[in-house]
Amino acid sequence: MAHFTKATSVKDWLNQRLAIEKVEKVMASEYWIPKNINFLWAMGMVLAITFTLLLVSGIFLLMYYQPDVKDAFYSVNYTIMRDVDFGWLWRHIHGVAASVVFLIIYIHMFTGIYYGSYKKGREMIWISGMLLFVTFSAEAFSGYMLPWGQMSYWAGMVITNIFSLGGLHMDGLVEWIRGDYVPAQAFLTRFFMLHVLLLPLAIMGLIGLHFAALRIPHVNNQDGEEIDFDAESKKYLAGDKAGSKVMRFANDFMSKDMMVVGIYLIFFFYLVFFQYGFALDPVNFDPADGLKTPAHIYPEWYFLWSYEILRPFSVNIGLMAFGFAQVIFMLLPWLDRSPNAVPASRRGAFSIWFWLLLIDMIVLTAMGKLPPEGIFSTIGLVAALAFIVLWIALPFITMNEKKA
């Protein structure tokens, strides 16, 4: 075609060169969303907004942060927190968002599990989502290193030691990851690089993949109903908006989404201004000291459940259990043998499985925070074993499920 005419308007000028009207249709006004969904379907948008908050606040922190073992602690706790006008705001936003993003991710994941939104063509959505979870975890961990406080140092020590893989004694690998015998300058600078460039790039790429994976199967709905999107969208475009089972992504669905986002943002900024303490560990307000371990080392709350799966066992078994916990969610679409993509409440034994898993992970989280002594050790061990048993049982529970 490549034939251009004199433009009648700016829009027409752009349209001839970039086909903006077509793009708008494909991406928004003719991207169809089922009507039968609830506020839990807004969590994806809440996540996208939270990621944006992390990105913007991170850019401002980056202007004063110094990735140097001598200056890092000072640059965060004095320069950014006291000298820079509104420096505290960016730090509070960044810290609170890093914590809250995991809460929303967990809600988003468990919504997916509850409604069976990981099967019947939605496997790639699930896999890209889990890859996002893994990358977000790495992003959170690398960011935690940057203030170079006591928790940064010792979390860095303990987590990188996991790569010696227990009985395999891969100490060379651990030193390679650190660039030193212990976490030191080389370690800090490379984790800085990962945190501000490589991992955010990977996250943005994965968010693109996640959205692309949604395109063909579309989002699920509250009844797991298989909707004929072609037929329903024709009905809608023909004027039968009320009779159609779908609506436009923009502006119809967006307006609902943004309503939830608005409520979320009020809650979020309440935390930023008045309750930011939970996101900043007091132990990390002591500068890193390689000759003194803090009395209790625990990760941020969102890693506690998997940490608690590592802790009660001897080192090799602990690492195997930990590895199991890291990959097992990824396999969910294949471990669930039932073809029913309906809410858990209509799936008999699966519904019990779902609630047990959720409760077990909350128990693991609580035990992970407590010192590994006495009754807490025992509860932690039982919960860790229960986690493994639940996942092993899943294929058998779902194999004989009746057609819902």
Partner: protein
């Protein structure tokens, strides 16, 4: 046919060039992450072993890691089992427990309780006795012993002397 085989050749030729490039880049990337020579060179510490008080745990530093030095009391020396003797380091006529002060589980520094003469790791609850042996999991083995060489009253950490080599060969330390 003629055409497609020519394209096939071009594809393979490019594949070969790209393959060499990929392997080369991976090597460079791996090496860039290696510890720097300056880091490796700064790996020696000399200790004067005549200054330590008996029965008290002193922490030194080597390669950024804490090193436990415990001069054993006569009572401890007398009560040593065979396996404890195997880890014993003798300088002149003093007996020492020398160890890298990092838990062999995931590397926290266990705390020493002088009254109970034992170490407790707060991270995941591991325990060690005064001789450096593990007494409660998750740590898989006793404390690691740093490479050392004895010269008169001095001990050089980072260099493997015959006493250390013997411990390593017999599997007392990694």
């Amino acid at each position: 046919m003629h055409n497609s085989s020519r394209r096939g050749f071009m594809g393979k030729a490019f594949g070969a060039v790209a393959g060499v490039g990929v392997v080369g880049s991976l090597v460079a990337m791996k090496k860039t992450w290696d510890p720097l020579p300056s880091v490796k060179a700064a790996g020696f510490t000399t200790l004067d072993m005549s200054i330590y008080p008996e029965g008290e745990l002193i922490t030194e530093k080597w390669r950024g890691k804490p090193i436990f030095v415990l001069k054993k009391t006569a009572e401890m020396v007398a009560s040593q089992t065979e396996s404890q003797k195997a880890r014993d380091v003798v300088v002149g006529d003093s007996h020492f427990m020398i160890a890298i002060g990092l838990c062999t589980h995931l590397g926290c520094i266990p705390g020493y309780n002088a009254a109970e003469k034992s170490f407790l790791c707060a991270c995941h609850g591991g325990q060690f006795n005064w001789a450096g042996e593990v007494t409660k999991v998750p740590p898989p083995r006793g404390f690691d012993i740093p490479p050392f060489k004895i010269e008169g009253n001095k001990m050089i950490l980072g260099e493997a002397g015959p006493e250390y080599q013997a411990m390593k060969d017999s599997g007392v330390t990694l």
